[in-house]
Amino acid sequence: MSRAMFGRAARSAVMSQGVDMSATLGSLAMPSPVLTASGCAASGRELDQFFDITKIGAIVTKSVMLRARSGRPTPRMCETPSGMLNSIGLQGPGIEDFIEEDLAWLTSRGARTVVSIAGESVEEYGKLAQKLRPAAGVGAIEVNISCPNVDARNQVFACDPELAANVIQTVRRQSESQTPIFAKLSPDVTDITEIARSVIRAGVDGLTVINTTLGMVIDVETMRPALAGVTGGLSGPAIRPIALRCVWQIRQAFPDIPILGVGGIRTGLDALQFILAGANAVSVGTMTFNDPSAPFRVQNELALALADRGFESVSQAISYGHRGADVFELEAEGETEPE
C-alpha cells in the first residue's frame, strides 16, 4: 500500500489540530478529505447557511440528468433503524440549468465541486460529459451508475461490469483529460471488486464507494409498501459496516486507486474508519439531514482524532488499517508510532 501516494499533490498544507488535512481525489486537491454526498447536499446553497462550504473538501452535487426531472411520487422516504430509505427518483434541473445556476453559484462562491451525473443510456452519459466540458468549476465528475439502463431492459449499470465500463469509457472520452472521473459503485453486487476492476480498466480515475443498498419497508397501517416507489435506497449508519467492507475489499484488491468512501458517516471517528480502511476522502450523506453542519463537524472531529493518534497528515492514515501484522507486534510493545 503506498501511503505516501498523494503526499506531494497537496502543496500547501491545510492544518487543523496540527494535522495536515489536505487531500486529493485524483488531480483534485482539497483542503480537507471531508465532502458532502450526492443527493444529500443539493447544490450547497442551503448548507452554506450552516457552515462555510468553501472550508470542507468539496460539494458533491445531486446527480443531474440531461433534462429536468420531476422524480417519483411521494412518500419518497421512510425512516428505518439507524437509517432511512429514499426513492427520490433523481428530481432536479437538467444539465444546462444546473451549469448556469448551481455550478455557476458554487464556482463564484469559491467552493470546489464534484459534479454527479446520471443517465439512462450510455449515450446520455456521454452527452452529459460533453455539456460539462466547457463549464468552469468542474473539480471532478462523479458518475452515478446506479441507474437503470432503459436500453438494456432496465438493468442497472453498476450491477454489470460491461455496462459500467461502457459508461466510463464514454464519459472519459467526452471529458477533459485532466478532469478526474470517479465511478460510484453499488454494493448490490456479488463481487464489488469485479465491477471496480472493470471500470478501472475503462479508465476511471477513482471510485466512490458506496451508493445506497436496495431496501423496503411495509407500512403496517396501509399494509402496502411505505414508499410510492415500492423499494428504495437504504442509507445512514445502518449501512456503515457494508460501506466500510466495500472500501476495504477494493483497497485490498487495488492498492493505488483513489477511493471516496461513503456510507453512514456520522462522526470523525466514523470517517477515520473509512480512511484506515483505504479511503482517500469521505462523503457525509444522510447524517447531514440530522445535523446540517455534519460535514464540517466531522472534519473537525477527524482532525482531532488524527492528532490524538499521532498522525501528522491525513495521508499517513490512509489504508493504515491494512498494515502488516508485524507492525502490530512491534506496536504492542510500544515501539512503533503510526508512521
Binding site: 443527493g39 444529500c40 447536499a41 443539493a42 442551503e46 448548507l47 447557511q49 450552516f50 445531486k62 433534462r67 429536468a68 426531472r69 420531476s70 422524480g71 417519483r72 411520487p73 411521494t74 412518500p75 419518497r76 422516504m77 425512516e79 433503524p81 439507524s82 437509517g83 432511512m84 429514499n86 427520490i88 428530481q91 432536479g92 437538467g94 432503459v150 432496465n154 410510492a228 445512514g236 449508519p237 444522510t286 447524517m287 447531514t288 439531514f289 440530522n290 445535523d291 446540517p292 453542519s293
Partner: protein, 284 residues
C-alpha cells in the same frame, strides 16, 4: 436565516391529548415569524431514529431569564413524538430553525379567518396576535375529532374576534367539521384572507371554500420531511408556479405555507403528467 442550537427543556405540560414543550433556543425567536417551524433531533447520539422531526413554532419569547425560548405543541403519533413527550426539565434538544416561509400578512387591517385542525392551531396564536396588531378582524375556527384533540381553545379566545369550535363527535362546540361552519363565517365576516393549518384533507376543503368566496388562502402543509432545510427532496408536492407551470416543490423551503389555490391537492402523492420534468407518458 436558520441556525442550529442546543436547547434546554424548561417545561413539559399536558394540554388535552398534547404536550407543550418550552425550550430555550437562543437566536431562533429573534428571527421568527408566524408560520415558521423548527426541526428537533430525536433520542440523542446513539438513537436508532436518525431523522429530525418538524414542529410548528407555537410561541416565542426573545427575552426573559432564559434568553430566547420557544414552545411547540406535540401530538403523540409515533416513535419520535413519543420520545419528545417523555422529555423532562433540563434535558437538552438539538434544534434547527426558524425554517420555512412564514405566513404572508396583509398590509392593512382586513378581515381574516384562521382555521386550525387538531395541533394545527399551534402556529395560529402568534399569527392572530400579529394580525390583530395590524387591525385585522380575526375569526378563528378550531376543529378536531374530539374535545381532547382541540388545542388552546381558552388561550386563542383572547386573541380572536370570534371563536368557533367544531368536533366530529360533538364533544365540544358544533358537531361536524371546520368546513361545515366555514362558509357561514366567510359570509358573516366578509374575510379576504383564510389562514389554515391541519391535515391535508382539511386544507384542500378550506382552500376550495376560500376560492368560492374569492378569498386569498394560506395553507400550512405537512409533508414527511427528512431534512427540513431543502437538501433531500423528500417533501415535495405539486404546486402551480407564477408561470402557470406545475412543479414538484419542496414544502420545507418553498412552504410549508402555500397559496391554497396553487396547490394541486388532489394530485398530492402523484406526479401530475403536466408537471415540469414529469416522465413522458410512453416512457417507463
Amino acid at each position: 436565516m436558520p441556525i442550529q442550537v442546543r436547547g434546554e427543556v424548561l417545561d413539559v405540560r399536558r394540554a388535552g391529548s398534547y404536550y407543550v414543550l418550552s425550550i430555550t433556543a437562543s437566536g431562533i425567536p429573534e428571527s421568527f415569524r408566524p408560520g415558521h417551524f423548527v426541526t428537533i433531533g430525536i433520542g440523542g447520539e446513539e438513537s436508532g431514529l436518525i431523522l429530525q422531526r418538524a414542529f410548528a413554532i407555537h410561541q416565542v419569547q426573545s427575552r426573559g431569564v432564559y434568553g430566547g425560548t420557544l414552545d411547540v405543541v406535540v401530538g403523540v403519533h409515533g416513535k419520535g413524538s413519543r420520545w419528545l413527550s417523555e422529555r423532562r426539565r433540563h434535558d437538552t434538544l438539538e434544534i434547527v430553525g426558524p425554517l420555512g416561509k412564514p405566513f404572508i400578512l396583509p398590509k392593512e387591517g382586513v378581515p381574516c379567518v384562521l382555521v386550525g385542525g387538531g395541533y394545527g392551531s399551534a402556529p395560529l396564536f402568534m399569527l392572530a396576535e400579529q394580525l390583530r396588531e395590524r387591525g385585522c378582524r380575526v375569526d378563528v375556527v378550531l376543529g378536531a375529532s374530539t374535545e381532547e384533540k382541540l388545542y388552546g381553545v381558552l388561550d386563542i379566545k383572547r386573541v380572536s374576534s370570534m371563536l368557533t369550535i367544531t368536533t366530529e363527535d360533538g364533544s365540544s362546540g358544533t358537531k361536524g367539521r371546520v368546513t361545515d361552519v366555514l362558509p357561514g363565517i366567510m359570509e358573516r365576516s366578509n374575510s379576504v384572507v383564510v389562514y389554515a393549518c391541519g391535515p391535508m384533507g382539511m386544507l384542500e376543503a378550506v382552500a376550495a371554500i376560500a376560492s368560492e368566496y374569492r378569498a386569498y388562502s394560506q395553507c400550512s402543509v405537512e409533508e414527511a420531511m427528512a431534512c427540513g432545510i431543502g437538501i433531500c427532496m423528500t417533501c415535495v408536492l405539486p404546486v402551480i408556479g407564477e408561470d402557470g407551470l406545475t412543479r414538484m416543490v419542496r414544502s420545507c423551503v418553498e412552504g410549508p405555507i402555500f397559496r391554497g389555490d396553487l396547490v394541486r391537492w388532489a394530485e398530492i402523492g402523484t406526479i401530475p403528467a403536466d408537471a415540469l420534468g414529469a416522465p413522458a407518458l410512453d416512457a417507463s
